[in-house]
């Protein structure tokens, strides 16, 4: 059965508890939202990401206490080019939430989540390694998969298939 079209109107989605909490916390930090295929995505202003995660984690009803995944999507040649994707999970309500931060090509950096979840360490290093996103406040931001002297970031869409020569 095909899915209904994605809902991107934030007014229609206002009843979602995650959005209620985030909008009550700081409505200027929310860049948009999407509900598609039973998954809720919230776009967060990049300067507010760490505080938004803290607000979701400390909210006693939502209790998003686990960061399951950090990754990135490169929408080259569009601008803003990068979308850093965070998947949160709550061990008490068993619900999931996707947070996204849009980053431009000339300034691809965002606050690190290591101070909140130390487990973000490897994930952010991987995104740094393969996409070249800088995570401010990361304790040990260096390549994790590729050798130290590697040139370029292979998961970027403009990376040549055979690598830079």
């Amino acid at each position: 059965m095909p899915w209904p079209p994605a809902i991107t109107d934030i007014e229609v989605l206002k009843h979602k508890p995650e959005l209620v909490a985030l909008l009550a916390w700081k409505s200027a930090a929310i860049d948009g939202a999407k509900f598609d295929r039973n998954e809720l995505t919230v776009y967060v202003e990049r300067t507010c990401l760490r505080d938004a995660c803290l607000a979701l984690k400390n909210n006693s009803q939502l209790n998003y206490n686990a960061l399951m995944d950090v990754t990135c999507v490169d929408w080259y040649p569009n601008n803003p080019r990068f979308e850093v994707v965070y998947h949160l999970f709550s061990t008490s309500t068993k619900k999931r939430l996707r947070l996204k931060v849009r980053l431009t090509d000339d300034d691809p950096q965002v606050d690190s989540l290591v101070p909140i979840w130390p487990g973000a360490n490897f994930f952010e290093r991987e995104v740094f390694d393969l996409f070249g996103i800088r995570f401010n406040g990361h304790p040990d931001l260096k390549r994790i998969m590729l050798p130290e002297g590697w040139n370029g970031h292979p998961l970027r869409k403009d990376y040549p298939v055979e690598g830079y020569r």
Binding site: P2, R37, N65, D69, T71, H87, P118, G119, A120, P147
Partner: protein, 402 residues
């Protein structure tokens, strides 16, 4: 471009009286090409830094150049000890993108094979973990039963390890005649085998003393560091996606989720052995209640037609040709589909741009995140305990490095 020499990272000692010990990447008890840099003060670990990436093959990049159906054989090369779980996680993600219904028979066979995969994976873990700690004979017992599971996989898919048996929309084909009888024969005697392993280990004072109280991690630390699966459940967090976010018809099965509050290597041993017993029960239920019907969804544009139909129907031949040469398009969107792999949460994040090839495939692999808990388990402990702790988090380096 500046001349740079690829050099493995080096850890510098923080104190005068400590030294750096390099462990791996060729070390038998790291279960693959894992390199650990240990800063030690005498026999005590001060700091531990994993160095990974020796098995990085860029699977995520490769997936972007393949049709959706061509990605299936890539997925079981990630975590080669639980190929079916990877196949399932990927197929579920694409099926969710497509909004596809899978026939119940296919779902039940998927569950059955997934639990056999869990048994297979836990047997390799138990055998190698016990061998690391010095109980050699358990390894032979475990691999005896693992061989039976691999033969079942071979019967159903033609491959022992890289099965690639699941397809988007169901299964590749109906299991062969007599397959379910073979599964039943194996699964009925399997509880006796678990008793054998437990007889060799659970009451063995050398084994117990070696792992009890070792490699302790609290629930908060484990969760914050990204631990999932048995590693997290052994610290007392009751999360199992098969029960909490049921997929592929797991809501029809009755099973317990073993949890322990001890958080040490012993607790992880107990939780996994209990899981073996629960998996056995699920396979029995899947055999008993197996529904009749087709094993492929009725979606001619996505699922390859039956071989017989291709010989008699023009339509089927056209669809076959189209799917093989052009793939099938998937509507725009993104999904994250998590499943409970033997190691923890295995999630596939797929972004579709509406073409026949995925725009982005990301695997959230449980070993990668679980590896971060290792430092917490080992710091302040003895070197010999590192080996026990590595075994207890059950990492697969193919899964870590992808």
């Amino acid at each position: 471009m500046p001349e740079t020499i690829a050099r493995p990272p080096v850890l510098d000692s923080t104190e005068d009286h400590t030294m750096i010990l390099n462990m791996g990447p060729q070390h038998p008890s790291t279960h693959g090409v894992l390199r650990l840099m240990l800063e030690i003060d005498g026999e005590t670990i001060v700091r531990i830094l994993p160095d990974i990436g020796y098995l990085h093959t860029g699977i995520e990049k490769t997936c972007e150049a393949k049709f959706y159906q061509q990605v299936v054989p890539m997925t079981d090369r990630i975590d080669y000890l639980c190929p079916m779980t990877n196949n399932l996680a990927y197929c579920l993600a694409v099926e969710k993108l497509l909004g596809m219904e899978i026939p119940p028979r296919a779902q039940w066979i998927r569950v059955m094979l997934n639990e056999l995969t869990r048994i297979n994976s836990h047997l390799v873990w138990l055998g190698t973990h016990a061998m690391d700690i010095g109980a050699m004979s358990v390894f032979l017992y475990c691999f005896r039963e693992r061989e039976d599971v691999l033969r079942l996989f071979e019967a159903v898919s033609g491959q022992r390890m890289m099965t690639s048996y699941f397809r988007i929309g169901g299964l590749a084909l109906e299991p062969p005649l007599g397959f379910f009888d073979r599964v039943k024969k194996f699964i009925d005697r399997f509880p006796g085998n678990i008793d054998e392993y437990e007889g060799l280990l659970t009451g063995n004072p050398i084994f117990v003393n070696r792992i009890k109280g070792v490699g302790h991690i609290s629930a908060e630390d484990c969760l914050a560091l990204g631990g999932t699966g048995p590693t997290l459940r052994a610290s007392g967090v009751d999360v199992d996606l098969r029960r909490d976010n049921p997929y592929s018809g797991y809501e029809n099965f009755k099973f317990k989720v073993p949890v322990s509050n001890d958080g040490d290597v012993w607790a992880r041993y107990v939780v996994r052995v209990q899981e073996l017993r629960e998996s056995q029960k699920i396979v029995v239920q899947a055999l008993e209640g197996l529904p009749e019907g087709r094993v492929k969804a009725d979606a001619p544009k996505v699922v390859l037609p039956d071989r017989e139909k291709m010989k008699t129907e023009m339509e089927a031949l056209i669809y076959h040709f189209k799917i093989v040469t052009e793939g099938f398009t998937v509507p725009e969107g993104e999904v994250y589909s998590p499943v409970e792999s033997p190691r923890g949460e295995m999630g596939y994040y797929i972004v579709s741009d509406g073409t026949a090839k995925p725009y982005r495939v990301h695997m959230r692999s449980p070993s990668f995140a679980n590896l971060q808990t290792l430092a917490k388990m080992c710091e302040g402990r003895l070197i010999a305990d590192v080996v026990a702790a590595i075994g207890s988090i059950d990492i697969v380096l193919g899964d870590v490095d992808r």
